[in-house]
């Protein structure tokens, strides 16, 4: 069984959400991104999203943009992302997902990328600018190697389209919580419950909510509306606010609070 599916089954049995912290490869440094990931595992993460930085991240707000730029300025490459996944995999059995924009993956060759990601120990792939209608080959390759290629839903997605997205979804459907880019937000959108219920009626796969999920209170409010949540910018903001030495501990402490609320 794919580790992603196992994680949702375990969370369902325990009647809790799956918590997936996100970390950018090479932020704040390559070595520190490994420390961050392992600290998140120790703090109770159920799943990790490992982000390969890209020069032009159109779905990301200022926080992830800045982290990506810091990582790229530090010389991070796709090989670093794959070896980071392998190093994390050597230390934990929780599911790991490689996230990145289409171009660096296409440059490597989607076939090569899927094989290398699976070999490194990844369980899933998240490519926010490849829609299911363009992902046929990628999804077929992933299915051969038991690597789930994740599909997205957005508040703007019509219900008929949601049903088509759900039909071929593997692992989970990444539910973008807002019409907008990534970034920590103080409040969940008022329309979020109705939207997640709409997704739930159209899609059988678990719903993983991302974009703007920041606080333990957000997680408490998502219980019963979704099966899991991804937290990215809030953690990056904490790392940056606390500096290189104390950043990892402060961010891991936040993950601990999130885990307690899930």
């Amino acid at each position: 069984m794919n580790r992603i599916d196992a994680a949702f089954a375990a969370a369902a049995d325990a009647r809790r959400l799956v918590l997936a912290p996100y970390t950018t490869v090479g932020f704040p440094t390559l070595a520190a991104s490994l420390e961050l990931a392992l600290a998140y595992v120790d703090a109770g993460a159920d799943m990790l999203e490992i982000g390969m930085p890209f020069s032009d991240p159109i779905a990301d707000g200022p926080t992830v943009q800045a982290a990506s730029q810091i990582a790229l300025d530090g010389g991070v490459r796709l090989d670093d992302a794959l070896s980071l996944i392998a190093q994390i995999r050597a230390r934990t059995e929780i599911p790991l997902l490689l996230m990145g924009y289409a171009n660096p993956f296409m440059r490597r060759g989607f076939g090569a990328l899927v094989r290398e990601a699976a070999d490194a120990g990844a369980d899933g792939l998240i490519v926010p600018d490849v829609l299911p209608e363009h992902a046929g080959g990628l999804e077929a390759l992933g299915a051969e190697l038991d690597l789930h290629v994740i599909r997205f839903a957005a508040p703007t997605t019509p219900t008929e389209r949601l049903a088509r997205i759900g039909e071929g979804a593997r692992g989970f459907v990444y539910c973008v919580s807002v019409t907008g880019v990534t970034g920590s937000r103080p409040e969940l959108a008022a329309s979020l419950p109705a939207y997640l219920k709409r997704v739930g009626r159209a899609v059988r796969a678990p719903r993983m909510v991302g974009f703007g999920i920041s606080t333990p209170e957000h997680l408490r409010r998502l219980r019963g509306l979704a099966e899991g949540a991804i937290v990215a910018s809030a953690l990056i903001d904490i790392v940056r606010a606390n500096g290189a030495r104390r950043g990892a501990a402060a961010a891991a402490n936040h993950v601990r609070k999130l885990a307690a609320a899930r």
């Binding site: 890209f54 159109i58 790229l72 829609l131 209608e133 508040p155 880019v181």
Partner: protein, 400 residues
């Protein structure tokens, strides 16, 4: 000759290029845009209103001018100029801005956003929004804000808000990133008036449709003046909207050579030019698969051109297709050669071209001496140089 099936196909591809590589949030808006475009652009009321505005507001048809003194000076083929520089706002960009502006209005969206490099598309969009009573926000790289200050002032005068983008390379690429982020956030109320023949489907198709008026006019104008088709059509290319607009009328005429001219910048080293068709590799940026200037790890490279409107690391998917099939040929002209051509045209014909268009003039000037005096080279003079006077003056003062 059998005409190939119409491109792009239903999924927005020209061969292997094009498509729609965007976040899920934008899919419904792109579907809605495509439906609005297909429903309206040939509908009699829409077409009549656009035609009326192109004539009485934008000043079309723009003339074709036989540049006799320039041709004599070069000694060879005859250069004809399609004078898009004489269109309202000073460039071809108004054609597409009017078409998409009317689409915004029929779509019921009151807020329009646009990206701009040289500022010509931003000015055209701000102009059309003022005329149609729509709110307008233009994203422009901070580097371009600095070197095209006059166009920023024009946009402000027209009532548009100009947002200076300080991320990344601070040029057109980053302006598009920010405009896309705005659109992802405000998609339900906002129309993205895209200016280049690039971006996700259906934009390359829409921009071509609204720019094809250039070639549709030029073909009979030239036939009246010299009795037939041109031997070659030359246009500058970055995203490629003016080039596709003039090429489109001649694509089915195999005897007409189509030549796109990219920015050679300071030279062929990575980061020193924007010659994507010469140096790029297949890639995905800003919603479509095309050629892209990128490093070996798939990160997008910085670019350089003296012309702010040619300073983008990608190219429209139809140009990638025309390049691959060999139907069009693409060459590069560097900063210095473009600047020399700009002065040559100014001093032989009394026409100050935009720095972008000067790249096309420069290549035509290369071709002319080897051409027979009966041969006709049609150059798309896509814009005028008023916006570039500070840059041009600095070069003249430096004795360049």
């Amino acid at each position: 000759m059998t005409r190939p099936p119409a491109l792009p196909d239903a999924a927005g591809y020209f061969g292997a290029y094009g498509g729609r590589y965007v976040p899920e949030t934008l899919v419904a808006a792109l579907d809605e845009l495509e439906a609005a475009f297909e429903r309206h652009h040939r509908a009699p009321a829409f077409a009549a209103e656009l035609a009326e505005l192109l004539t009485n507001y934008a000043g079309r048809p723009t003339p074709v001018y036989h540049a006799r003194r320039l041709s004599q000076r070069l000694g060879g083929g005859q250069l004809y100029l399609k004078r898009e520089d004489l269109a309202h706002t000073g460039a071809h960009k108004i054609n597409n801005a009017l078409g998409q502006g009317l689409l915004a209005r029929v779509s019921g969206k009151r807020r329009v956003i646009a990206e701009t490099g040289a500022g010509q598309h931003g000015v055209a969009t701000a102009t059309v929004c003022a005329m149609l009573g729509l709110d307008c926000v233009v994203y422009m790289g901070a580097e371009d804000v600095r070197r095209q200050a006059l166009n920023v002032a024009r946009m402000h005068t027209l009532g548009a808000e100009v947002i200076s983008v300080t991320s990344g390379t601070q040029t057109l690429k980053d302006a598009i990133n920010e405009a896309l982020r705005d659109w992802v956030t405000n998609v339900e109320t906002t129309f993205y008036l895209f200016g280049s023949a690039t971006g996700p489907h259906p934009y390359p198709k829409i921009v071509r449709e609204f720019q094809r008026v250039i070639g549709r006019e030029a073909r009979p104008q030239l036939a009246d003046m010299c009795g037939g088709l041109p031997d070659a059509v030359v246009a500058c290319v970055n995203g490629g909207s003016n080039a596709i607009g003039i090429f489109d009328a001649f694509i089915d005429d195999p005897g007409v050579e189509l030549i796109g001219v990219e920015a050679g910048g300071r030279g062929p080293a990575p980061g020193d030019h924007a010659a994507t068709l010469a140096h790029g590799a297949p890639g995905i940026l800003h919603g479509s698969r095309s050629l892209l200037l990128q490093n070996d790890d798939g990160q997008v490279l910085g670019t350089h051109s003296v012309a702010a409107g040619l300073d983008y690391p990608g190219v429209g998917p139809e140009h990638a297709w025309l390049h691959e099939t060999g139907r069009a040929r693409y060459v590069a002209v560097d900063d210095a050669e473009a600047m020399r051509a700009l002065r040559l045209l100014a001093q032989t014909e009394g026409i100050i071209a935009a720095l972008e268009s000067a790249h096309a003039v420069a290549h035509a000037a290369r071709m002319a001496p080897d051409a027979d005096p009966a041969q006709v080279i049609l150059v798309n003079l896509s814009g005028r140089g008023d916006k570039d006077m500070e840059t041009i003056a600095a070069h003249v003062d430096a004795g360049a």
